[in-house]
């Protein structure tokens, strides 16, 4: 039985190796593949962001937000920081989006609620101005001011990150633990209603 499985596995592996050797001239180079992946992630980011901003149903907006988070996680992968991509999925998609869903459900934001009406035209034009402002002001600066110093470098290991967390970023590490504790205590204090008492 084991021999048969082994045989199947080896023939499959040989088949894939042959296939890869045959396809090699047609596959894109590493740079082109990176640019294609970047374009795909930008599409995810733009589409998800537009849905998150313009959808009139908050649940759909949150789904768009999740797609944007996935796009940003892919960009972290392209930037050779896989640990950050994993954390992006865990913290944002896993925790923050669930929190937003809870907020939607606990505040009775129904599909015909306050967000369902289209915003006024004056509001929309102001929003367009506000969105254009950073593009117009910071965009040219980015376009002119950045130089390409990029070098291919290996991904950092988690051990390196932990070492940095306890040496160069020790103060921020301690501070953010305090901030998380205070935020948690504050949230419990705000939302807690004593038995039979009225809300704060």
């Amino acid at each position: 039985m084991n021999d048969i499985l082994n045989n199947i596995f080896h023939s499959l592996a040989r088949l894939f190796a042959d296939l890869e050797a045959w396809l090699a001239p047609f596959l894109p180079s590493q740079d082109l593949a990176a640019y294609l992946a970047f374009a795909f992630y930008v599409l995810l980011l733009l589409g998800g962001g537009l849905v998150a901003v313009l959808a009139r149903n908050l649940v759909r907006a949150t789904l768009g937000l999740i797609i944007t988070f996935l796009g940003v996680a892919g960009m972290y992968l392209l930037l050779a920081s896989p640990f950050l991509a994993l954390m992006q999925l865990l913290i944002y998609v896993g925790a923050v989006c669930v929190l937003i869903f809870f907020a939607i459900m606990l505040t009775k934001n129904t599909s015909d609620g306050e967000e369902a009406r289209c915003p006024r035209l004056s509001n929309l034009s102001l929003a367009g101005l506000a969105g254009l402002a950073p593009l117009v002001v910071i965009g040219p600066l980015i376009y002119q001011g950045t130089s390409s110093l990029v070098t291919r470098r290996p991904a950092d290991t988690v051990a390196n990150l932990g070492e940095g967390l306890l040496s160069i970023d020790l103060l921020s590490f301690e501070l953010i633990s305090i901030i998380l504790l205070v935020a948690m205590a504050g949230a419990v204090y705000l939302a807690f209603r004593p038995h039979g008492g009225r809300a704060r």
């Binding site: 998150a52 925790a95 505040t107």
Partner: protein, 106 residues
């Protein structure tokens, strides 16, 4: 265009979308979604600047850790906004930003 320019432009798009959302949304939860968009753009720009510079070693890791701290702050902020939305819903009966007119509720 250099890779750093591309990544920074992507994060700039996130910032612009978040600003648009901040103005057009009416409820607190909608504002929370827009702020999360902008925070994501900030983290992406930090990591892009750290990973495409000529600096390697601990200072390069510094950038990634800064993005991790941004994520932690975003999580803390989301928790607090959830609690605040609950309190506002109890006191005013709705969560539109226009309804928040008094500090000490009746």
């Amino acid at each position: 265009m250099s890779p750093l320019t591309l990544f920074l432009l992507a994060s700039l798009i996130l910032l612009a979308l978040g600003l648009i959302g901040l103005i057009t949304r009416r409820t607190i939860v909608g504002l929370l979604i827009s702020v999360e968009l902008m925070l994501n753009g900030a983290g992406l720009s930090i990591v892009a600047a750290a990973k495409t510079s000529s600096i390697t070693g601990l200072l390069d890791i510094h950038g990634q850790l800064a993005a991790l701290f941004v994520m932690g702050l975003a999580a803390a902020e989301a928790t607090l906004v959830l609690a605040m939305a609950l309190v506002v819903q109890r006191r005013f009966g709705q969560t539109t930003t226009d309804s928040l007119t008094t500090i000490k509720g009746s």
